[in-house]
Structure formats: C-alpha cells, structure tokens
C-alpha cells in the first residue's frame, strides 16, 4: 500500500510540471494553431536561466521568476524572428516547423557550448531538503512546493484566458484573426503575448522539473517536447483543462510503470497507453466537442 501511495505522491508532483509545460504547448499548438518545435528548448532554457539565477545567489522564488521571464522572452524572440516573418512572407506551416526545429537545435548547441554536456545541479541552498515520513510514504517539501507553484501557475493562466481582456483577445484571435481585427484587437501583439505566456510556462516548468530531479542538461527539452505534444493531444488540442489533466495522467502513468514494471518500460507503457486512448477517442480524452477554427 505504501508503495502505491508513494507512487501517487511522486506521480502527482512530476505530473504537475508536465501540466505546466503542456499548458504552454496547448496555447501555441492548439489555440494559435502554430507548430513550434522550440517549445522544449524554452523549457531547457528556463532551467538554465533559473540555475544561473540561483548560482548568483537569488532566492528560489526569484530564480523561478527569472526562468519564467527568460522562457517568455525566448518565446517572443521565436515569434518575432521565425513565425511572424514566415506569416508576413506567406510561408507554409511546415516551414515554421522546420525553422523552429532548427532554433531548438541551435539552442541545444549553445547550451552545450556554455554549460557543457555534463548534467548541472542547483546549489544546495536553492533546494528544500525537508521531508516527512508518513507510514512509509516519503513526502518531500520540494514536491509540495512544486505542486503548489504549478497549481498557482495553472490558475493564473486559466484566469487570464477566461476573465481578462487579453484572454478574450487570445481566444478571439484563435477563432479567427479577421474577427479579432474587426473588434479592434491588435492581432500581432496578441500573438506575441501568447508566445510570452507559453514560453514563460515552458521556462517555469524547466526550473520546476530541474529542481524536482536536481538535474539540468542541454538535452532535457527534447523528451519534454514529445511529452508536451502527447499530453495536449491526450487532453484535446487547445483544451487547457485537458492539458492539465493529461499532464497529471502522464506523470502518474510514468511513475507507476517504473515502480511496478521496469524503468526501461516507462516510455513504452506511457506512450502505449496514450496510443490506446487516442485510438479509442481520437479527439482527446477530455474534449467535449471538437474545437474548430473559423
């Protein structure tokens, strides 16, 4: 029983970081309908931004802010340099895919050059090492903090999308750029804001996951991108609550397959399950109806 509970605790804290990252992905892929393969690189970038901030002696909350803003700025740059340029020149969606993939590769190369290929670790002062043992279940303070931070980020994004003028503008641009223009929404600026939010979520998720395992590496973004894509398809493209639920689900599935089967089967089981779900319900687990663009 305690093994089971232990996996639930681990799976939820891991899943919460997936959920934060997946929300950013669903904003870009689902809401804006843009294929941005550099989203994982922003995740990796955020982890390094947070790491450097922590090494400079910033307290963890400020380092997280640096990771978030840093990821957001990377998102903004990607939009300005790649996606906007391609839109203005009438480039095909696939060009954005290839260009952002190239950007991601470049960022991995730059990170390797600056930080080396060796795994880096956060300074001990950044990490919370308190932990409790309750009936054989070990709960780290860090896991709880990560979960709480993730939930706060999710709530902030949900509120922004549902209740703010910017959020309504984003949803309107997602529906139709022409309709957005008609009501006076500056489309370019709104897309830029969305890239900032998505990059920021990726950057924050990078620092959170980097903290959870205390591992930062130039290659951490690539697997994450695949997971992010999986989760947003699982949750229904463009569906923010779906991305959150999908993130937690993937975290739990991974942790359980490691605990009960074998760590080498982690991906096989995780992705196998997702494959099954998609075959049964192609619009995603949590979509009430297929969201359509006009």
């Amino acid at each position: 029983m305690s093994v089971f509970l232990q996996q639930v605790v681990n799976g939820i804290s891991l899943g919460s970081t997936y959920a934060v990252f997946a929300m950013g992905c669903t904003l870009i892929f689902g809401v804006l309908n843009i294929v941005n393969m550099a989203q994982g690189a922003f995740f990796m970038g955020g982890a390094y931004f947070g790491l450097e901030a922590a090494r400079l002696g910033l307290p963890a909350p400020l380092a997280l802010l640096v990771a978030l803003v840093g990821g957001g700025v990377l998102g903004v740059l990607a939009e300005l340099v790649i996606f906007r340029t391609l839109r203005v020149r009438g480039g095909h969606r696939w060009m954005g895919l290839v260009a952002s993939l190239a950007l991601a590769r470049m960022m991995v190369g730059i990170a390797q050059e600056i930080f080396g290929t060796q795994v880096q670790r956060y300074p001990a002062s950044t990490l919370l090492d308190t932990a409790w043992d309750i009936d054989g279940v070990r709960i780290q303070l860090l896991q709880i903090v990560i979960l709480v931070v993730s939930i706060v980020l999710m709530a902030l994004l949900a509120l922004t999308l549902q209740r703010s003028s910017t959020g309504r503008a984003i949803r309107t641009v997602a529906y139709s750029e022409d309709v957005a223009r008609i009501v006076g929404v500056p489309v370019g600026r709104t897309i830029l804001t969305t890239f900032f939010l998505a990059g920021g979520l990726a950057g924050a998720a990078g620092m959170l996951l980097g903290n959870l395992f205390n591992v930062v590496s130039p290659f951490m973004g690539e697997q994450m991108l695949v997971k992010g894509l999986t989760v947003i398809i699982l949750g229904g493209l463009g569906n923010v609550p779906g991305a959150v639920a999908g993130g937690f689900l993937l975290g739990l599935v991974e942790v359980f397959s490691v605990a009960y089967v074998s760590s080498s089967f982690r991906d096989a089981i995780g992705f196998g399950l997702i494959f099954l779900i998609l075959l049964v319900k192609p619009t995603g687990l949590f979509s009430r109806f297929e969201e359509r663009r006009a």
């Binding site: 309107t172 529906y175 009501v183």
Partner: protein
C-alpha cells in the same frame, strides 16, 4: 462623417473596386446595394482597413484613415457588423460582447452590456451560452451588440438580413433604425434593397466595382432601372 473618394481596392494585384466615391453625412443612414460580387463587402472591408486601398481616399471626420491599422480605425469610431455575423462560436455571448469593447478602457462597459441586453432580451437569457449554439437571428443580434460595444460613431452593417426569417428581418431593421435615431451614423450594405431603402435616406448602387446610380431613397425606389435590377426579383 465619412467621405470615400475614388477608392480603388482589391485582393492582390487585381482591384475589385475601380474607383468609387460615396459620402455618409453625420447622423445619416446610407445604404449600398448591388448584386453578388459587386464589391459591397470589399467596400466595407476597405473602409475599416481590412483590405488595403490601392488608391483614393477614405476620410473619417476630416482625417484620412486609409493607411491606418484596423484597430486604430475601430478606436476612431468605426465598427463593422460583418457578413455572416462572425461571432466567436466557442466563446460565451457575454464574452463576445466584452471582446467588442476591447478598445475601450472606460468604466461604462458594464452599463453598455446592460444596454445591449435591454435592446436584445434574448441575449440576456443566453449570456452564458456559447455564441455558436444560437440561432442565426440571435447571432445577428449578438454581432450588432458586439459592434455597439465599441461605441461607434459610424456603424457598418454587411447584409444583416442574410438568411433570416422575415419576422426576424423586420426586428433587425427596426433595431437598425433605432440605433440610427439615437445618433449613430449608419452605412448599410444589403441585397434586400426594398428593406434597406425603408431605413436609409440615401442610397448607392454598386455594379462590378463602380457606383452606377445614387440618389435619395425615394429616387431609388422610383427608378425603373433599380426596380428591374434589384427590387423586382425580391418583391
């Protein structure tokens, strides 16, 4: 309010509008009628900046606006009720109204939403519902309400009667008259010429990118030429 002079505009290299001029005096309700493909929608799109003007002038309250971005033109007081309504289907009725007020930063938005609900009781009943789940007539009301939320000085309406039952069409035209009577200048595009001329005081006829006829509503109604081309088929 609005002066369009020698406007040429279109899509890509080809001009759909081959130099049109029209005038909408402050407080007036002017209509633009014409057959399918004449360029009515293109005219409204050019006025609000969605389609670039290749030459000519668009002057709003003595200021040239033909090079401005759409959101700037909306801020200057021009709102469009687009052809086919184009409400945001996966957003609630109330959010559609709120996004209509995107350009505003004053504290009267809530009061104006209330005013729209007063005008269209159905929208109040359905305020939490997805806009896409409403009937065509309700969506048309919402599209008009959304445009009003920007507090326009000039309201552009593109075929508001399209695809609606006669009773609803009457309601819509009554609303347009009311909006005009409370001080909003209106430029109305219609294929339903008879209806349009019952609200408008002046009209233009557009034929393949050129103004072929203009005159007061009574002139247009009397004109045999117009009757044949646009009224006959509909009466």
């Amino acid at each position: 309010m609005l002066e369009v002079r020698n406007l040429k505009a279109g899509y890509g290299a080809v001009d759909v509008l081959e130099g049109i001029s029209l005038s909408v005096p402050t407080g007036a309700c002017v209509c633009l009628i014409g057959a399918n493909g004449a360029g009515k929608t293109t005219t409204l799109s050019a006025i609000c900046g969605l389609v670039p003007a290749s030459s000519g002038e668009i002057v709003l309250e003595d200021k040239e606006i033909s090079r401005l971005a759409v959101d700037t033109i909306v801020r200057r007081g021009v709102s469009l009720v687009p052809e086919g309504r184009r409400v945001v289907a996966n957003m609630s009725v109330e959010d559609n109204l709120l996004v209509g007020a995107y350009t505003r930063r004053d504290d009267q938005v809530g009061a104006d939403i209330e005013a729209v609900y007063q005008r269209f009781g159905r929208l109040r009943e359905r305020r939490k519902q997805y806009a896409g789940s409403m009937s065509g007539g309700e969506q048309q009301m919402l599209a008009i309400g959304r445009a009003l939320m920007a507090r326009p000085k000039l309201l552009l309406l593109d075929e508001p009667s399209m695809g609606l039952a006669p009773q609803i069409v009457n309601d819509i035209f009554r609303t347009i008259r009311e909006i005009n009577e409370t001080g909003t200048t209106v430029l109305l595009v219609e294929q339903n010429a008879k209806k349009a001329l019952s609200v408008a005081t002046y009209g233009y006829v557009l034929e393949t990118g050129r103004i072929s006829f203009e005159g007061s509503a009574s002139d247009l109604l009397k004109s045999a030429q117009i009757a044949e081309a646009y009224l006959g088929a509909l009466s």
